[in-house]
């Protein structure tokens, strides 16, 4: 059991508060792994640690044999570990298509100066980015909206655009921050299919999520955090019958563990 990405004894302290405490787990290639936990369990911090937007106090994150924690986010993205954001973090003032085109940055062969001059390789890059952007938009059902201003999209489509931006980087691991938050049943269903589709493109998916029903439906494996500590790890079936997990959620939102 080696996997594509290892989280090793990861700890993050904010002053006296230990947001993430000695958490370890492996992410296997082409799986969908969800991290769940009650509010304040340290999910978001863990997410930022893995995408290297936050530096760990101790421990490390290893991707394909190389340490990625503590490096600049754009370098981590360059290696193939790319995050999306909670809510609607997009380039609001650009069209949907331009959002995805600009996110192809990691695939460029031409230099900045080459793009300025419009060299042959820059033009080849631009053409291939546009083609790839259209493919991704069609794949996520945004094809008809490609010329809309991104800031004018409705909520559900914004989430899809966030994923499209992530896909444009050609990631090996895509980290999704609460991809189903604020969605109704129908939208969640569609989003679940979308995330499965992403995995079927050969991309390993790790997500942090509140929506239990969706998590149970979509995940190959689940990691449960409580007060910054990993209290369980296993298949959805195992998690649903785990004593510690039930305890952690008891009295707070026990019904929401789902089916």
């Amino acid at each position: 059991m080696d996997g594509i990405l290892q989280v090793e004894s990861l700890t993050k302290r904010y002053g006296g508060l230990v947001a993430v405490n000695d958490v370890s787990f492996n992410l296997m290639e082409r799986e969908i792994l969800s991290v769940i936990g009650p509010n304040g369990a340290g999910k978001s911090t863990l997410f930022k640690l893995i995408s290297s937007f936050v530096r760990p106090t101790s421990g490390k994150v290893v991707f394909q044999g190389g340490r990625i924690s503590g490096r600049a986010p754009h370098l981590v993205a360059r290696q193939g570990v790319v995050r999306t954001f909670q809510e609607a973090t997009i380039f609001k003032g650009m069209t949907v298509r331009d959002n995805v085109i600009v996110a192809h940055h990691l695939r460029s062969h031409a230099s900045l100066f080459g793009f300025f001059l419009g060299t042959r390789s820059a033009r080849a890059d631009e053409a291939s980015f546009a083609r790839s952007a259209d493919e991704i938009l069609d794949f996520l059902g945004l094809g008809d909206l490609r010329d809309e201003l991104a800031g004018a999209l409705p909520q559900g489509h914004l989430r899809a655009l966030g994923i499209a931006i992530g896909l444009a980087t050609d990631p090996k691991v895509l980290l999704l921050d609460e991809p189903f938050a604020g969605m109704n049943q129908d939208e969640t269903m569609r989003a679940v299919d979308m995330v499965r589709g992403v995995r079927d493109r050969g991309i390993t998916v790790m997500l942090v999520e509140h929506d239990m029903a969706a998590v149970m439906r979509i995940s190959d494996r689940i990691v449960v955090l409580n007060f910054g500590v990993k209290i369980a790890e296993g298949t959805p079936d195992e998690i649903q019958h785990d004593e510690k997990v039930i305890e952690a959620y008891l009295g707070v939102e026990d019904e929401s563990i789902g089916t």
């Binding site: 954001f85 600009v102 820059a122």
Partner: protein
Amino acid sequence: MSVVARLAAFLALVVALLVGVPKAIALTGRVDLYYTLTLTSLLSIASAGVWITFYIGRINIGQAAYALTGAYVSAILVSAYGVSFWLTVPIAGLVCAAASVLIGLPILRLRGVYFAMVTLVSTEVARLLALALPITEGAKGMVNLPLPGPLDIAGVTVIPDFAHLANLRLGFYLLSVVLMLVTFTILYRLVHSRVGSLFLSLQQNEELASSVGINIAYLRIIAYAVSSFFGGISGAIFAAISQSVYPSSFTVADSVNFMLNCFLGGLGYVVGPLVGTFVLRFGWDLLFQAEQYQLLIYSIVLIGLMLVLPNGLVSLVGIRRRKAAR
């Protein structure tokens, strides 16, 4: 506008500026306009630089620092080292770009009003440096700078010696206007290439840009360096025209004006700083008739324009076109 229409409009502008304006001035005898137009063209080059920093989402109130630096670099090289003026222009630009890299590394992390404040202070720092350094000759400034000599490339005289020009004003006018046209062509290309999209992505959301692998620190530096390069070359030419440079040649007020030019013209349009500079400059001159009320009227009009046209004067064209499309 189609590509052909754009090109035609651009060529018409080039002909109007290089042939039409000198003809009109010769006919009317308003030779004083040469100086105003020359100065305005130079100011629009510096404003174009400020516009680029706006384009990556930074408010830059420090362009006068680079204009002043560029002016001194050129003046010192010409007078103390006998370097050809034509060589000192790109050198002044490059020195400013290099300085902006050093200054930008720490301060470009700042956003919003914090970045703006630091740039504002940098103008004052540049003035104080010019006062203090021995090489800039302090408060008395550098005067009696020689006029630009001839520019020879491979034995061919491309630009004649300015000291022997029959019409010196025309010479400086053509120099500034050509440089302005080149600057805005570069700016247009920059913004409409992928580099422009990358700059825009910084303006919109730096965190997201960084998450898709864009090196935001590097791009910010590039944008700021290009911005300062434009400031430097405009300053260098200013020094040659006035044949002098003082610590007060470019002050905080100039920095603010460069920024206002961009605001008024429009931050979303490449020609914004060009239009803004010309309208502000000529607006100010026209209000000369109002004597002591000049500044008052000017300020009120500015505030009014910003309220009515938050996207700048150039947005008027866009609005009309959108209405026509309906």
